[in-house]
């Protein structure tokens, strides 16, 4: 039982991608200790996978409620822009970071209100901020890349703790906190209930509106954290490019992780695994030396493979074989 659960399609896919990376680049698993931190391709996969992984944490909750949040990329840009402009204007990081997170929170709240109280379909409601949000971010930076030297922000993006890159620590922390929050309280059950049948959830006494608004707000918050990390990483806020198209990667991560876009059952940890799979693939392309024009084709191929593996069809084929065995076993 334990073993079969560990051997889910996601784990197999991750192992597969890592193995291919290793075949293409034998040094893939080499890890060394350098300047007080771990150093190697595998660490890069984790570190670079962080923004999508963090987005995916929030996105999982949103998708579990049958929604989707297209604005996370833009919200990342906003958070980065706020933090960067504040520190360059001389505010200390301990003020800039909360303000940036607050801005991201507000963005999420806005989405939540549109979805819940205006009853606008999530994909459209968040499309608004996806388009306008990047504009807002650029408005804050006035179109330029705001470079900063604030040590705290830079530490958030590039520092390390116990040898691990700071972003990985933050993501791991967020993962733990959110898994505990949903699984050791009734939150997870409520989220699934609202995603499966919102009308029934309301009748069962679940405050579904409050829950939905909180979840979009949480997704905004996650995007804010990712935005600050990305800004800290390059020591600057690039409003035009930060988080560009990452919403698609985040959704993809969630789906690869096995959460259905139709809402209901979800697993945050699996979504994070999905994010790591995507990054392993990207890093694999980088170290393997493929010409860049093949990047998208490779990506498409891997996605198709993973989805084939996960498809209910595969499950049904297995089931059909088992049933016919069961039945023939009976007659004999």
């Amino acid at each position: 039982m334990r073993l079969t659960r560990a051997l889910n399609p996601q784990t197999i896919a991750l192992i597969g991608v890592l193995t291919i990376n290793w075949l293409l680049f034998p040094g893939f698993f080499d890890i060394s200790w350098q300047d007080g931190r771990l150093f190697g391709s595998v660490i890069d996969v984790l570190n670079r996978g962080v923004p999508v992984a963090i987005l995916a944490i929030g996105m999982t909750a949103v998708i579990a409620t049958k929604g989707v949040d297209l604005s996370v990329g833009a919200v990342m840009a906003i958070a980065g822009a706020v933090a960067a402009t504040m520190v360059t204007a001389g505010y200390p990081a301990h003020l800039a970071v909360p303000t940036a997170l607050g801005a991201a929170l507000l963005c999420g709240l806005w989405n939540g209100i549109l979805v819940t109280f205006f009853a606008i379909q999530p994909i459209v409601a968040t499309l608004v901020l996806m388009v306008a949000g990047r504009g807002i971010a650029q408005l804050i930076t006035e179109g330029s890349i705001v470079t900063f030297a604030d040590p705290v922000l830079i530490f958030i993006g590039t520092g390390s703790f116990l040898g691990m890159p700071m972003p990985v620590i933050i993501a791991a922390g967020l993962l733990c906190v959110s898994v505990v929050a949903v699984r050791s309280t009734a939150l997870g059950l409520f989220i699934e209930a609202v995603g499966v049948n919102r009308a029934a959830a309301s009748l069962a006494g679940i405050h579904s509106r409050l829950l939905l608004v909180s979840i979009y707000t949480f997704s905004g918050l996650c995007a804010g954290i990712a935005g600050i990390i990305v800004a800290g990483d390059i020591r600057g806020a690039d409003a035009n490019n930060a988080g560009l198209w990452l919403e698609l990667d985040a959704i993809l991560a969630v789906v690869i992780g096995g959460t259905s876009l139709l809402g209901g059952r979800f697993s945050i940890a699996m979504s994070v695994t999905g994010a790591i799979i995507i990054q392993a693939m990207n890093t694999g392309i980088l170290v393997s030396g493929f010409p860049p024009e093949f990047n998208l084709v490779v990506k498409a191929g891997v996605i198709i493979l993973i989805l084939l593996m996960q498809s209910p069809l595969a499950g049904r084929l297995i089931e059909a074989r088992r049933n016919s065995r069961l039945l023939s076993g009976k007659t004999s």
Partner: protein, 328 residues
């Protein structure tokens, strides 16, 4: 008036009002020239949006649209410029390729039961990817046929032009509307959007219909790619990035529900025109910075959606009465 037509009429009225308001501010916008430009400049978007309408009506989504446009352009350019094929022959070839591509996506959606969002996302990567593998550079198409097409147009009074591609878009909209509202296939599309299980039990050929829907969307994206190629006389793998989002926006602004089952092809036309109007207005204004442009586009999208929401709920509260509001 038929109640279900109300959102459509509302959208049309919003467009008329918005156009009147912009024309008051910039009288130059009220000319056949600008109207003609609306048609020509949005032809590829409009054609792709018709396909998107079908997909959305059926409860799905197609993210591969922009990539297919880019891919089509590159293939046409390669066939015409490198292999000397006549453009019409090249068009036929790409439409067949697109049909196969769409059918494969539809089959994946149906048989593998993978959400269309993901299938078409993979399709998007694949189409863009193959296009850039074929050529990274933009390839010019120089062929007398292209010149002839771009020089043929209907002159309207006031100097406006209805170009071949603008006319083609109108034809696609008419055919699309007939297909959606007047054929069995159309009713199957709505049936899928209403409730797939019911549709299946009622005898709708779900597999065939799903495959046809994505085939139609891909073929129309291919046609949009042909139009784009005529529009720019070139093929470029990065062409039409993000057009799928514009198309989704047009469909939704046009009153079609993203959850499927409700909407009109003609609404999409108004949606496309509204987006064209917003862009033209911003250009006439000419003072918006890069960022204000984005903010204003997002803001207007918001306004249109909210307006529509209001109209839609106004029309449903009264007529659906007491027993449908339950589901809140």
């Amino acid at each position: 008036m038929n109640r279900s037509l109300r959102p459509l009429v509302a959208t049309a009225v919003i467009f008329a009002l918005a156009y009147a308001a912009s024309a008051l501010q910039y009288p130059g916008m009220f000319s056949t020239r600008v109207l003609g430009n609306f048609l020509t400049d949005n032809a590829f978007l409009g054609i792709a949006a018709v396909g998107m309408t079908f997909v959305i009506l059926s409860g799905g989504i197609d993210l591969s649209v922009g990539a297919v446009i880019g891919f089509t352009g590159v293939v046409i350019a390669v066939l015409v410029s490198w292999y000397g094929l006549h453009p019409l022959a090249a068009f036929a070839v790409v439409l067949v390729i697109c049909a196969g591509f769409g059918a494969a996506m539809g089959a994946a959606v149906h048989y593998l039961q993978v959400p269309s969002f993901i299938v078409t996302l993979a399709g998007m990567f694949l189409a863009r990817g193959v296009a850039s593998v074929i050529s990274q550079d933009s390839i010019p198409v120089t062929h007398p046929f292209y010149a002839a097409v771009s020089q043929s147009y209907l002159l309207m009074p006031g100097g406006g032009r209805i170009s071949v591609i603008g006319g083609l878009m109108i034809i696609v909209f008419i055919v699309g509307a007939l297909l959606a509202h007047r054929t069995r296939f159309g009713s199957y599309v709505y049936a899928l959007g209403g409730n797939t299980t019911s549709a299946q039990l009622m005898g709708v050929p779900v597999a065939r219909t799903t495959i046809l829907i994505y085939t139609l969307s891909a073929v129309l994206s291919g046609l949009a790619g042909i139009v784009f190629s005529l529009y720019t006389s070139a093929g470029y793998p990065l062409a039409a990035v993000g057009v799928e989002l514009d198309a989704i926006g047009a469909v939704v602004i046009g009153g079609t529900l993203l959850t499927g089952g409700y909407g009109f092809v003609f609404g999409t036309f108004i949606g496309v025109m509204l987006q064209g109007l917003v862009q033209t207005y911003i250009i006439f204004d000419g003072t918006l910075s890069s960022w204000w442009t984005k903010i204003v586009i997002g803001g207007l999208l918001f306004v249109f959606i909210v307006l529509q929401r209001l109209v839609f709920s106004a029309s449903s509260v009264r007529a659906r009465g007491f027993w449908k509001l339950k589901h809140e």
